[in-house]
Subunit: 209 residues, 2 copies
């Protein structure tokens, strides 16, 4: 692996483990046994490394949040998508656990996060519209927007809520339970038999202690 | 007003405006025109001031989140309660915008926040149960728990989501719209005519640009 990539991988691991604010470029260099000088040959400073990692996170999210085509999607398809989103959030969790600080310090991250939340909300609305049209879902335009805001907000702050609430006890079950919680937002708006079908599908991901 | 209270008031204002991490005890002393020595006579350090402000926030939340009695509450009553919760969150907004950092640095705040989210979730379940019993609401025990988690998470991170999403443009309308968004979580579980009644009530708080 190239040194540049090894630096990025080590930084991501350390940021995720200890929180970005507690990791210095020296820690990162130590971790992969290179000199600080070698690290500075590849990156000017820590903000450069953060920027590159955030770009990778943002690119991955953009890929996942492309506007879906105007048909009813299988619940399994939506479910997979949500899992990929939660997987990405977990993979770059330092972004989510330090969101206020990062968006305040680095203007570009603020702008990119605002795009991501907006794309996420739009995608939810786009996924739901065909279901409303086909009588699978019963929701007004306002209700759809509310569902979209709820799902986006919960995805963004699920990890944070886990760290301050009883949910934290789930440990490795936390992310699957998050996907369950987020997808369930739609369920009361579904007509039968779709509501039962979704609840049944979601149930397998619910955390049971 | 006593110097001690003037210090607390000034600290709360500055923390809310600039973020607690950017405010020093010297800023606080300057703000109310006292010497740093006078401030240290009342508080050992900044953590002491944060602790006292957090206790006030936590006491206020505990008062609001007392277990409701086992009857169906008027929507207007629940609505008022939610507004008081959002008002408290706004009044102590430095807590919410810096939650990860504060809970990591100060163990007591972590424990208290965990209690608050747990009380908030329990209160939602307690408020909904009589409505299910009386046929006003249609939700399983799992669905009630999901609603409770959603409402608690959204209340806790509404301000944060506002700061990274399009919602931030609402400015002074943000908190009222948050109460609208949170209470609306319940509405798809309500039977008619209660669903329409709640949507009608909530509508007056929806932000309209």
């Amino acid at each position: 692996m190239k040194t540049r990539d090894r630096i990025l991988n080590a930084a991501l691991d350390l940021f995720n483990q200890s929180g970005e604010q507690h990791v210095t470029t020296n820690h990162i260099a130590d971790e992969i046994d290179i000199s600080p000088g070698n690290l500075y040959y590849h990156f000017r400073n820590k903000e450069d490394i953060i920027g590159e990692l955030f770009d990778a996170y943002s690119d991955r999210m953009h890929d996942l949040l492309t506007a879906p085509d105007d048909r009813v999607h299988d619940p399994e398809e939506v479910w997979l998508l949500l899992h990929l989103i939660f997987e990405t959030i977990w993979q770059y969790r330092f972004v989510h656990t330090n969101l206020v600080d990062l968006t305040q310090r680095i203007r570009k991250i603020h702008i990119q996060m605002s795009h991501i939340t907006s794309e996420l909300e739009q995608m939810v609305v786009q996924l739901c519209k065909p279901m409303v049209r086909e009588g699978i879902m019963n929701a007004s335009a306002d209700e759809l927007q509310r569902v979209a805001t709820t799902m986006s907000l919960m995805s963004m702050y699920w990890l944070n809520y886990g760290s301050i609430s009883e949910l934290g006890k789930m440990n490795e079950g936390l992310m699957a339970h998050g996907a369950y919680q987020v997808i369930s937002t739609v369920s009361p708006y579904l007509n039968e038999p779709w509501r039962s079908h979704l609840n049944h599908l979601a149930e397998s991901y619910r955390f049971k202690p």
